[in-house]
């Protein structure tokens, strides 16, 4: 099972100190968080993609390329890559390039975005959101899998004999997750291709999330990629921890109350009851996170949101230390011991390359086998 952190990249005033970081400071902070994730032994760092203030990460491969150069183990991902408004040709090129520079430590999560005006800013219409996600991704897959592509669709200028460069590392395209909160069409898309499905999970009641995750699992099986419980599921999570539960709640409360998402809504306690938000002792966080498995089945990737809502860097790094020292090692052990042998890990470049090599070996072997059959 993979554990990691994902950043939204918001520049939010710290409600306690009253200080707002500059974009320069915030960008450095995101890099520090990514390096810390590697240091504490997490598996994944993922960045969001936004094109409006107060968010800074508009250029994910620049950020991830820089982090790739400073790390050697952690897998770099997105949360999410806007498949609707980015040109699929540019996604194919950018992430193949990143894949080479990061030595395969790359996967992506496709998303439609949640900011309406982004569509017109990039020349699209929000009413085409699903159709864009379907068509653009279908093209992206071909660009990574076929050396020469001729293509015509509804949303992008046609391609004639086009080759996306660089070709994916070792001829193996990055693994793709599809993120969605409420769209069965996107779960359907993930299931059809046998790709991963990620539910942000935070902010939503478990029943809501489970409906979509279970739908994806059933459709994964329907399309013949394996049993429903072998589908590749990722979930978000949001935690704040201190040794004593009450200290965690007292310290986190002003950040909750002034959060751009939570502020003005139900109380922190109600939100903790209704959604996966966990504020408490490391033991409470462990117990809560283990309930995800009961609700959504054995899953492959757990991402926590680390830096957000104006939390100071020092606090974020302390949180990550607790995560790395006390929470993730226990969760790893627990999840691994509970997971049946037939449930796979999330694909990585190494596992996909091994599978591709095996497939090729079979192909080269089979004519010989056929020849033997004929001479009999």
């Amino acid at each position: 099972m993979q554990f990691g952190v994902f950043t939204v990249g918001d520049v939010t005033k710290d409600p306690v100190s009253g200080r707002t970081l500059s974009e320069a400071e915030r960008i450095q902070q995101i890099v520090t968080v990514a390096l810390k994730a590697e240091e504490i032994g997490l598996d994944v760092f993922a960045t969001g993609e936004h094109h409006n203030p107060p968010f800074v990460p508009s250029s994910p491969t620049t950020l991830l390329g820089f982090i790739a150069a400073k790390t050697s183990n952690i897998l770099l991902s997105t949360s999410t890559t806007l498949i609707t408004t980015n040109d699929p040709v540019k996604i194919a090129e950018d992430y193949a390039m990143l894949q080479h520079l990061a030595d395969g430590r790359v996967d992506l999560m496709m998303g439609r975005g949640n900011t309406g005006p982004v569509y017109p800013w990039f020349g699209q219409d929000i009413r085409d959101g699903i159709a864009l996600a379907i068509e653009n991704y279908a093209l992206l897959r071909r660009l990574w899998r076929e050396d020469v592509v001729s293509w015509e669709g509804k949303f992008r200028t046609p391609l004639e004999g086009f080759t996306s460069t660089p070709r994916p590392l070792d001829g193996v395209p990055p693994f793709v997750w599809h993120g969605s909160i409420r769209s069965p069409e996107i779960a359907e898309q993930a299931a059809y291709y046998g790709d991963g499905f990620f539910h942000n999970n935070i902010f939503w009641p478990a029943e809501h999330t489970a409906r979509l995750v279970n739908y994806y699992r059933q459709r994964f099986e329907h399309y013949g990629h394996g049993a429903a419980d072998q589908a590749i599921v990722g979930l978000g999570g949001q935690v704040f921890m201190r040794k004593n539960s009450q200290d965690a709640r007292t310290e986190y409360r002003p950040y909750f109350d002034h959060s751009p998402i939570y502020g003005g809504g139900p109380s922190m306690e109600d939100t903790m009851e209704q959604t996966p938000l966990s504020v408490g002792s490391p033991q409470e966080i462990i117990e809560r996170t283990l309930t995800f498995r009961e609700k959504f089945g054995d899953y492959q990737r757990q991402l926590f949101i680390a830096d957000h809502a104006g939390l100071p860097l020092k606090t974020v790094l302390e949180q990550m230390d607790i995560l790395g020292e006390e929470v993730v090692p226990v969760l790893r052990k627990e999840f691994d011991s509970l997971r049946p042998a037939h449930v796979p890990e999330a694909p990585t470049h190494a596992s996909l390359k091994a599978a591709a090599d095996r497939a090729q070996a079979l192909e080269t072997v089979s004519p010989v086998v056929a020849g033997i059959e004929e001479t009999k």
Partner: protein
């Protein structure tokens, strides 16, 4: 055998008791009488939006309903008919009333018979039914019965007889409309669109 009809009543009065609830109760009673007369089995649930005011605000901010509000919304979705009554505020329905229909799924009322009612201090506001409520429910593609019932303060005294006849006419229209079959709500999870269709869409 006639199947049991479900009737949802939504009242956006702000006080307890309120004249809005009084009108909602009269409309409900008239619908009950009519169904009793036809021997149609039914159940009625009346929802005071005041009790759900905080849950409605929270739903707007979080994007999902509390358990209690979720059950109310589900009842309205499943109902065969809706009686919706609001006080008149600034030439329209009040904010509480609108919040309820903002968080209700926008397909929930398609084809559903709806009886609209409104209350106000004087008769001068009576067009609120036709200029505010009717367009709202037209947008939601509900089947609003021709008679809407507006009750001013005076309708609770000297004009009560005239009010009663409007109430009875509206109730008759609602029950008549309920006998028409309407499409069952579509569950996108139960009937997935195959991916090939999405791809060729």
């Amino acid at each position: 055998m006639t199947t049991e009809r479900k009737i949802a009543v939504v009242s956006a009065g702000l006080t307890t008791p309120s004249s809005t609830r009084l009108l909602a109760d009269q409309l409900t009673a008239a619908v009950r009488d009519n169904l009793d007369g036809r021997g149609t089995p039914y159940q009625v649930r009346v929802f005071e939006l005041r009790d759900l005011a905080h849950d409605l605000t929270n739903n707007l901010l979080t994007g999902f309903p509390s358990k209690e509000l979720g059950e109310v919304l589900e009842y309205v979705v499943q109902a065969d008919a809706l009686i919706a009554v609001t006080p008149t505020f600034s030439a329209s329905y009040n904010g509480l009333f609108k919040m309820f229909f903002d968080v209700l799924d926008d397909k929930a009322l398609v084809g559903k018979p709806v009886l609209i009612g409104a209350t106000g201090g004087t008769e001068r506001h009576s067009l609120v039914l036709d200029y505010a409520l009717r367009p709202l429910f037209a947008y939601l593609q509900a089947v609003v019965v021709p008679t809407g019932v507006y009750a001013a303060s005076s309708d609770w005294g000297p004009h009560a007889v005239a009010l009663r006849s409007r109430v009875e006419r509206a109730a008759l229209e609602l029950v008549d409309a309920m006998s028409n079959a309407r499409p069952a709500p579509v569950d996108p999870y139960a009937n997935p669109v195959p991916f090939e269709d999405l791809l060729n869409g």
